[in-house]
Symmetry: D2
Subunit: 344 residues, 4 copies
Amino acid sequence: MIRLNNDYNRGAHPAVLELLQKTNDESYPGYGEDAWCEKAAQEIRKYLGGQDAQIHFMTGGTQVNFTVIAAALRPYQGVISADTGHIQNHETGSVENTGHKIHALPGTDGKLTAQAIEKEAKKYRDTVPNDHLTEPRMVFLSFPSEYGTIYSKEELTAIHRVCREYGMYLYVDGARLGYGLGSEACDVTLADLAALADVFYIGGTKCGALFGEAVVICNPVLRDHFRSYMKQNGGMLAKGWLLGLQFYALFKDGLYFEITKEADRKAMALKEAFTKKQIPFYIESRTNQQFVILDRDQMDRLAEVCVFQPDAELEDGRTCVRFCTGWSTGQEEVEQVVQAVGAL
Amino acid sequence: MIRLNNDYNRGAHPAVLELLQKTNDESYPGYGEDAWCEKAAQEIRKYLGGQDAQIHFMTGGTQVNFTVIAAALRPYQGVISADTGHIQNHETGSVENTGHKIHALPGTDGKLTAQAIEKEAKKYRDTVPNDHLTEPRMVFLSFPSEYGTIYSKEELTAIHRVCREYGMYLYVDGARLGYGLGSEACDVTLADLAALADVFYIGGTKCGALFGEAVVICNPVLRDHFRSYMKQNGGMLAKGWLLGLQFYALFKDGLYFEITKEADRKAMALKEAFTKKQIPFYIESRTNQQFVILDRDQMDRLAEVCVFQPDAELEDGRTCVRFCTGWSTGQEEVEQVVQAVGAL
Amino acid sequence: MIRLNNDYNRGAHPAVLELLQKTNDESYPGYGEDAWCEKAAQEIRKYLGGQDAQIHFMTGGTQVNFTVIAAALRPYQGVISADTGHIQNHETGSVENTGHKIHALPGTDGKLTAQAIEKEAKKYRDTVPNDHLTEPRMVFLSFPSEYGTIYSKEELTAIHRVCREYGMYLYVDGARLGYGLGSEACDVTLADLAALADVFYIGGTKCGALFGEAVVICNPVLRDHFRSYMKQNGGMLAKGWLLGLQFYALFKDGLYFEITKEADRKAMALKEAFTKKQIPFYIESRTNQQFVILDRDQMDRLAEVCVFQPDAELEDGRTCVRFCTGWSTGQEEVEQVVQAVGAL
Amino acid sequence: MIRLNNDYNRGAHPAVLELLQKTNDESYPGYGEDAWCEKAAQEIRKYLGGQDAQIHFMTGGTQVNFTVIAAALRPYQGVISADTGHIQNHETGSVENTGHKIHALPGTDGKLTAQAIEKEAKKYRDTVPNDHLTEPRMVFLSFPSEYGTIYSKEELTAIHRVCREYGMYLYVDGARLGYGLGSEACDVTLADLAALADVFYIGGTKCGALFGEAVVICNPVLRDHFRSYMKQNGGMLAKGWLLGLQFYALFKDGLYFEITKEADRKAMALKEAFTKKQIPFYIESRTNQQFVILDRDQMDRLAEVCVFQPDAELEDGRTCVRFCTGWSTGQEEVEQVVQAVGAL
């Protein structure tokens, strides 16, 4: 079965599993206070352009998102997100469950603009008195976005500036960070991200790890008692070294960047195949997720070859469908799907 | 290094890791809707004495505890726990963070009594009006307790009856369930637990898994939308099959019971060694955790041989210390520590 | 100073104050368990068309809103509101603070449509699985809306039907209920409301009382332990009879309906004055709030006569301004403002 | 009916009602931004010994308590209270509902000791790591306590010092503050309180107002966005001036102190009557609440004369009963009860 429905349908990169196997008989201190977490953090720091950062390892993206937000905000503060943002649509209201409003702004291709963010922040600042409003205190964005689109360095910088001007934190959800950085269209580096964001996370679950995300806290203000928040929110793994060693395996020799870049390359092959057949794209993406518009017949025929994910029913009866490559997608798998697309 | 400080200091039982390795190239549906989770649930159900149950897999105990409690209670309701209970002392107020009061009752050897529970429930029922009080609606207990003690079937049945009479749910935290069931002093079976508790969890993290806990929901009332609560609270693993296959490996041939029983046996060897030296016990435990009272000199000498965990400073200057065996404790390791105790 | 900026700028109707004065030396049981609350509830019930209802008295609208919502919803459930709704924009995120998401839908003239509500409810029902989504379980609407518009009986009935079909509660915020029911354009009665809504509140603060709101719970499911929620959320007044006797004074002889209808009549006089001068309305309202579009010069000239409230800066430099009559607005006051408008 | 069951069973002191009546036709800005709130704050400040303070007016004690606590604490922090404290037993878990743990310490005569507080604070500070614990960050105490007892200046100073040393806020619930300050046994002034507490509230509801409490925030750190918290928690009255003018009436000429002192004097007359009859006290109180131990016969006979409040059933079958004078208790009323006690 060729699964292109998502990028979390297989275990781990062999290098990760090998290290897990090799260290299985070793014993370690618990709760992330072990040598592997420290070593993994060191490897990650090498890519941060000298930016000082506190690094923690957690088990999943939803958990990271609401924990970071709960740790950063006071009860009367909220977080700005695109209305297509993951926290707004796919996390069962976990942010509101921690007590915070999401200021959902209309996104453009799944992305926020500095202008829209500024308008929302300005509304709070200019309303007198504003004690009947929630204060937008954090900006949440995904890199790449839920639609596979990426922010240019210029766009990120503009958002960063608005955040500075209005006293907001910039938080970047990097569940698929590798696929963003690995895109041929990306001019942002991990060092740029560390310079522009107050906090972000490097996704492991979708990028070669069995599971796990690395939270990188650049802004010292946000570091205070972060471990208390992790524990309180069920995000502190007893055997924390399991996370540390996976990230060590992925970052030691740049494996993380290599495998995600390769997945992007495969997605571009798919993109080309769809383009050739003049199958329209729902949105223009240069990363591992491709959203195309298929009719019923096309869906049926492709379903014989691979699994993909319906995303939305369109009003004309067609369907927006996601094809998603990943670190584990095989070259042959892609070729078969490309061929099937060509035969539509 | 011989680590007897806790039972979560090594990876996983080889059988677990082997299955992870073997299935690493397979691809699966996400979020626990895969064949391994189903198969693991089937294996577990074999031990439930025919009790119908909904089974979910989550990543850690704190997460399970507050998710189960948040799913079961209304905002004005609280949960009864021993004042030594894990949710009261070791989870950074995660239960209160979900909005619920813990009715902390003085424990006896780390355990609750049916009498104390009834008194608290009766107070709410008999106060008119009682709208200024929180309603105790759930009883939380750990099996074995945080001090390694276990409830007899008679004690559990008495607590079960009080819960029925006062309309409270009985929830059992089984982080170390295997070590409780494996104790030579235990007359409770998994089937008994399924009959007496409304919901409980079977600990994997401390009992042979890399990580993971199996939540067993016996009372149908508590099953409603439990997956929504899991997702909302960051407890739904994207690659859910990783949890399912671990529990499958542990339960298929009863491995879970075997390895925890063996750890208990090793703890009994330690217990005997301390007894011989007339070193006092802080509490009488027949499971894998042993709490002894040591003076400074004894601590220093044993520290040369193994790692143990100081639990509390006593007023006379001595220390209550925990020695903890586990599924991964080696026979030689125990023998060395027994010898060292003998030489005190 | 003629204050037309809002309808809560004066104390209480004389009949209310008189009763407060008259009973000041009497002593009563606390927390709303007194004869006045009971008598007030009886008077209110006379208008409910035989609909059975549990009635509670609380001190303010925000408090009622989040308490009703917190009492009705489970953590994974949310409430649908117009994006112009009071809970979405003017209550400092109090609903999210209780843990619940607001599903904010684009409003039409400040109102929700049955169609838009159904679409949102259908999305949840049709998504499989839907455990990554919050369940819209309640519909919140204001009668009249924040823009003074009112729902027709047909519109309310259509919304009621969608709520029934999708298992959602209908909750009506009646902060200005009297001004809605008193409108010449209104075909809804209190009895209709009691038949169509699961729960609603009758605003006192803005309609003749010193302060206070009467919560009317029609759906028995929502009555359970409501007093516990009131107390927990700081909404149970120690001297509850102060609320009961105010509502008794307002409802005994229909005073409530009389004074709000009169305020609507005065608003219509204002409306007519603006219409004559061809001053455009921001929105068409037939209740006590009138939203007109003024330029800077017009605002300056009217500011010499009365206080009004700027609502929003329009893109063309003009301002949307609210003029609000109330139970305490004097006939002479209105005449002066009408004259001033005529002289623009 | 002579009601000595509580001190909130009558309306308001005539001076308060008179001012309400006199200003009823005036119109004011909403939400506490009016001249009366400002004037009331000025009158209160005269008693604060020059201590700078931000002053807000809210409607009830429970509301003040959880709002102050929610505004002061981060999610991983908790509040220390006596186990007999109002927030622990009588507010339906409202503090936990905001997400915070109450560290309930055994009280002595309803009071906390500096030693017990320090021990709890030290435990958190000395535990390494302490991220599995909640941080006690605030101390809550009632003045007078729920049992009518009061802290000496020395005791309060000692508690203040522990708070400073461990970085905790001291919060004083003054629901009955007047009765505490008015006690013949009290050596604490309002100025002392302002110097020793970080935040406290002056109870109006039980001390002459119709309703209302004045929150006095001494520590500037706790002032930030307090109005946002008030609004979010339903504690910002639309007609805020109603609260301001009540406190103005009570504080302008020291009426507040006069009427509560007189109530204490009456309570002392009761106390003397019980003492003469050798009726035992449950606790020694020198304020307006007297707790005596009565047998069934005594209760029946006194119940013919007045209403009192049973507090707890004792194990020997007798009952701890509260007799409570207040600002509105008449001289004749007390004399009748004194006589009845004498006749037991």
